[in-house]
């Protein structure tokens, strides 16, 4: 068993209004960054867990996303990285 660090991105599903992203974009414009277009704000989770190998760590975290971490009605997730901790 090895300890892995797995990073997950959970983002609002396309088509779902993202007021936080819009607020950030507006604020950036106001601060003098006019070239910023779309901004999306999601969650970045970093989990520390034990698994036999990276593939198993990935599978485990997918199960956690399906069960708890992401809401399938409004969010998509992706595993952004699996590294030995």
């Amino acid at each position: 068993m090895t300890r892995f660090r797995v990073a997950v991105h959970i983002v609002p599903r396309k088509g779902i209004l993202d007021p936080q992203g819009k607020a950030v974009a507006d604020a950036l414009h106001a601060l003098g960054f006019p070239s910023v277009g779309d901004v999306r704000v999601g969650r970045h989770l970093v989990l520390d867990l034990e698994a036999a190998d990276a593939a198993e760590a990935d599978t485990r975290v997918r199960a956690m996303c399906d069960k708890l971490l992401a809401n399938p009605v409004t969010e998509d997730y992706e595993i952004a990285g699996v590294t030995p901790a």
């Binding site: 779902i16 209004l17 007021p19 936080q20 607020a23 708890l68 971490l69 809401n71 009605v73 409004t74």
Partner: protein, 230 residues
Amino acid sequence: MKFGIVTFPGSNCDDDAYVAVTEALGATGIRLWHKDHDLQGVDVVILPGGFSYGDYLRAGAIARFSPIMREVIAHAERGAPVLGICNGFQIACEAHLLPGALLRNASLQFVSDMVTLRVENATTRFTNRYDAGQLLRIPVAHGDGRFTIDAEGLSALEDRGQVVFRYVDSTGATTDAANPNASLDNIAGIVNARGNVLGMMPHPERAVDAALGSTDGLALFESMLAAVAA
């Protein structure tokens, strides 16, 4: 008739619901603890407002897995009534007792206010003491109340009369200004297809006493009594 009120870690409207049921309505209230597995024979389960598990991750997401929720889901599957208020509505959505989801208010601000609701369906077991189109004054207090659902889901809700309450202005019109969280189509409360689970963001338990400014929530509880009696 026995109302069971669940206390999750972080529930903070459980006392209010208990007082509404026992004192304003005169019914029996039973406190249900999230770690228990027994509904103690209650007829109605109330999932109260609050911030279960701090609303961390997503409102209602963690509470949905509390031990008691297995029993609550079974209770709902038997067709018995479940009322989710505010955080309870969020928990009910996360537990798939109701369709859709509740997202952060579009203002990104918590909103505490007295709102006007229009009763869209007065035939449910939660609303039979209201008239269709009746306007109610009931407080809201939430940060994540923006109901959302995909187009298909929305038309299903509409077709089956599952939208029970909408936010309206004092003339009864569904305006943006009257919508405290930018909820889809001003939706404030819905029932499931079978009609035994109601979720609503406003707090009827805070509107059962004239001294506090409104008694418009009382009929919601009375409706449940009437439905059982019928």
